[in-house]
């Protein structure tokens, strides 16, 4: 009898025979649990009727009086304001409904349970001690323990109630273990245990996509999907960069700073993509940030029905560390320039030596790889000695032969000391205007 199976409402229950010690006689006490997820407001589908003064109908009169005594109906707060709107057609009442089923439980949620021990016998029992534990695959937490301070006496038909809570931080099978000890009227010490098993799953699935930019910045796309059974309200979605980066949150509309998502409500199975631009914290000494795997973490806080709170922090989001090239070639402009068809323009080129050795560098142009933007002037430039972690700059003049969006490229940098060469097929893109009076400025 002590291994009775209870309603499936309470999650799947298993009571292995071997673990309850005294099975011979029925127990005088019973134990029941109820999960305390938030109560919900009852929703209704009110019947629509119009109560205008010209024609009265018995049906409408009857419906009116039903409405007054209906606890789940929406009633107007101030009867004087009824002419503008009849709030009875709003279907979310003020009646709270207790959770009537165990429901699903997710990582990051708060698991709260009501435990009730009832004396089913006609005799009083003494020294009632209760121990409530939560067993996960790796740990055992004690949620409540009154075995050292037991309840002196529990009268017939009286209950001993307690609530326990625990923040769920692990996935997989969890078992709520309830152990009860008491003194029977004949003085014998009796003991029984009940087990309630439940599964914890992930409420959110996070995927990342990365773009490692050539200048050491990382363009991060974090894809968040609600894989729980119910809708979630994202109270907080924050990216915390690792120590090597600072970041820019790209999820606001540029003009007015509203969120690009409109609101923070995410339906089951819906996906949101959050965009972040990470930059190396130390611009000058960025070797570590260019080669590190660790990008940062997402800190998420959400609420479900009636404010039920959950919080999760992802593990470190990583990337496959990009191979650090010894040479980096970047274009730069002192000020925005208007590039016009068949008019020469100047572009600055900065070459950085990321290696640990000195280099002696030469910058050349390879005509066959240059496309429609050709170099104007000497085809090779001596950049001279460039020590480790230093850069050299030069100005090159280019001549565009076609209008529209064009590629600047076809350069080669060579280290005279080691023979290392690097071809840069694509330095940057520029927009070539057809006429002097056209409007767009080139900006990098």
């Amino acid at each position: 009898m002590s291994t009775a199976i209870h309603s499936p409402r309470q999650g799947s229950i298993s009571s292995p025979n071997s673990q309850t010690q005294d099975d011979q006689l029925p127990h005088l006490l019973s134990l029941k649990v109820m999960r305390l997820s938030r109560p919900q407001l009852t929703s209704t589908l009110p019947i629509y009727y119009e109560s205008n003064t010209e024609k009265t109908s018995p049906l409408v009169d009857g419906l009116e009086s039903l409405n007054i005594s209906d606890l789940t109906a929406s009633h107007p707060i101030d009867r004087n304001q009824c002419n503008e709107i009849q709030i009875r057609d709003f279907g979310l009442s003020q009646m709270l409904k207790l959770p009537s089923a165990f429901g699903n439980i997710y990582l990051g949620e708060n698991f709260s349970t009501f435990i009730s021990i009832n004396n089913e016998s006609p005799f009083a029992v003494q020294q009632v001690g209760v121990k409530i534990e939560l067993q996960t695959s790796s740990q055992r937490f004690v949620l409540s323990d009154t075995t050292t301070t037991p309840l002196t006496a529990l009268e017939p038909q009286k209950t001993y109630d307690t609530t326990v809570a625990h923040e769920i931080k692990e996935l997989g099978v969890h078992i709520l273990v309830c152990s009860v000890q008491y003194n029977a009227p004949d003085g014998k010490r009796r003991h029984f245990r009940k087990f309630y098993k439940f599964q914890v799953s992930n409420p959110l699935a996070v995927k990342t996509k990365l773009n490692n930019l050539i200048d050491g910045r990382v363009f991060l796309e974090a894809q968040l999907q609600n894989v729980s059974a119910g809708p979630m309200f994202l109270e907080r979605m924050k990216f915390e960069p690792s120590e090597h980066f600072i970041f820019e949150d790209l999820n606001q509309v540029v003009t007015n700073n509203d969120s690009v998502f409109g609101d923070s409500f995410i339906h089951p199975q819906d996906i949101r993509q959050y965009l972040y631009m990470l930059s190396p914290k130390d611009d000058q000494n960025d070797r570590i940030s260019r080669t590190t795997n660790a990008l940062g973490k997402l800190d998420i806080v959400w609420r479900s029905y009636m404010g039920d709170l959950g919080r999760l922090q992802t593990s470190q989001l990583t990337r496959k560390a990009p191979m650090l090239e010894d040479l980096e070639v970047q274009p730069f402009l002192q000020e925005p320039v208007r590039v016009i068809l068949e008019h020469p323009f100047k572009l600055g080129i900065r070459v950085k030596n990321h290696s640990t050795e000195n280099m002696k560098l030469v910058l050349t142009a390879i005509k066959t790889k240059m496309g429609s933007v050709l170099l104007s002037g000497l085809s090779s430039v001596q950049l001279g000695d460039v020590p480790a972690n230093q850069s050299a700059e030069t100005q090159l003049e280019f001549f565009p032969l076609s209008s529209g969006l064009q590629r600047v490229g076809g350069l080669r940098v060579m280290d005279l000391l080691s023979g290392y060469t690097k071809d840069i097929d694509h330095v940057c893109d520029i927009f070539v205007l057809s006429h002097l009076n056209d409007d767009i400025e080139s900006n990098i």
Binding site: S30, T42, P46, D61, S69, I85, F90, M95, R303
Partner: protein, 373 residues
């Protein structure tokens, strides 16, 4: 010999048109009155099945569901005797009264109501228009019913579509029916409320909130809309928006109770059960007729670990108010849920509940709140 040729007598045009009108009205009347329009109304319901299964015949309480013509339709409605009303309406001459279809809906027999609508046909067809004013004879309530019916039949998206079209219809009528512009404006707002309700029923709270925000632009700072929207935000988990709505409700004598109730909900959403309970206690002290607050008080007590006290509150609530709280599915569900927690075998207690409810419940009572198979 002369032949007299007479001209065929010309009937006066006006008389012809009147005759046509009369014929038309008659034929419409007959088609609506016809008994063939109506399907049979079932005699029993699921609650009766439960009663028969668990309670022996001699102990079974008498349900007041028999047809008593003398009572009159309004009394029948107040007692939730929908089956009787349906029969009564059927026996009346139906003009353009929506009562028959509404009654069937209340009975929960939505398949039947849908079929009735099928028989009525297209609500916009010309025969259903008044010849003189060219306005539809179909009452607006019937249109709303037609729009919302698919929800009951588990096709909520169809209902959403129909209700949206009804809102457009209201907008059109504001231009067409210039004498009653404000009536159609009110109907448009009510239609949005119905739309929000149906979003809520499929748990799309953000769409419901957007619809309520639309109503708020038309009726800025209306306390019922603010209060309802705040409650919706709480159900959704958006505590900040809820507080913004509640803050906009000005403190007056009329609103004091509502403000306290809203404050209690906000505290519950934050898990502050003790504070919430205290506020609800204050509301109850101030207005002992507020049955709703008693239910919510009982709920708070559960979260504070006071099972026995909570059950007491609910039992008092349902015993003292058998026709309102006693037949309220939510209150009964809460009570039965707590019985399952309190007792090893709660069946006895649930049967007691069933007996109590059966004395007062009408035809539309959803018996699964008692949690008996």
């Amino acid at each position: 010999m002369e032949t007299l040729v007479e001209d065929a007598p010309v009937k006066p045009v006006r008389a012809t048109r009147q005759k046509q009108e009369r014929q038309r009205t008659l034929s419409l009347g007959y088609s609506l009155n016809s008994n063939a329009n109506f399907y049979d109304i079932p005699v029993s319901d699921a609650f009766n099945d439960l009663l028969e299964r668990y309670i022996p015949p001699q102990e079974r309480p008498q349900r007041h569901v028999t047809f008593d013509k003398a009572k009159g339709p309004d009394a029948m409605v107040m007692n939730n005797m929908w089956r009787s009303i349906a029969k009564y309406a059927r026996q009346q001459i139906v003009q353009s009264d929506p009562s028959q279809v509404e009654d069937i809906l209340k009975l929960g027999l939505c398949q039947l109501a849908s079929a009735e609508f099928e028989k009525l046909g297209d609500l916009d067809r010309p025969e259903l228009c008044d010849m003189h004013t060219n306005q539809s004879l179909v009452p607006f309530e019937l249109r709303i019913l037609w729009g919302t019916l698919p929800s009951y039949l588990k096709y909520p998206t169809l209902a959403l579509e129909r209700i949206t079209m009804l809102a457009v219809y209201c907008k059109k009528m504001q231009l067409k029916d210039v004498d009653q512009v404000s009536l159609w404006q009110r109907r448009e707002v009510q239609t949005y409320l119905v739309l929000a309700t149906h979003w809520i029923n499929i748990r799309d709270y953000s769409s419901a909130a957007a619809t309520m925000q639309l109503i708020l632009t038309k009726l800025p700072d209306h306390i019922d809309v603010l209060s309802s929207l705040g409650r919706l935000y709480l159900q959704m988990g958006d505590l900040n928006s809820a507080n913004r709505m509640f803050d906009r409700i000005q403190e007056t004598d009329a609103t004091a109770e509502a403000i306290k109730t809203n404050k209690a909900f906000t505290l519950m959403a934050q898990g502050e059960w003790l504070q919430a309970r205290d506020i609800l206690q204050q509301v109850y002290e101030y207005n002992k007729d507020n049955l709703l607050v008693m239910n919510n008080l009982a709920v708070c007590e559960v979260y504070l670990g006071n099972l026995v006290k909570s059950i007491e509150i609910l039992e008092t609530l349902t015993e003292n108010n058998p026709t309102s709280a006693g037949t309220c599915e939510t209150a009964v569900l809460n009570m039965c849920t707590l019985y399952e927690l309190r007792y090893e075998d709660a069946t006895e207690k649930k049967i007691e509940v069933m007996k109590q409810v059966a004395r007062w419940a009408g035809d539309s009572f959803q018996a699964d709140c008692i949690k008996l198979q």
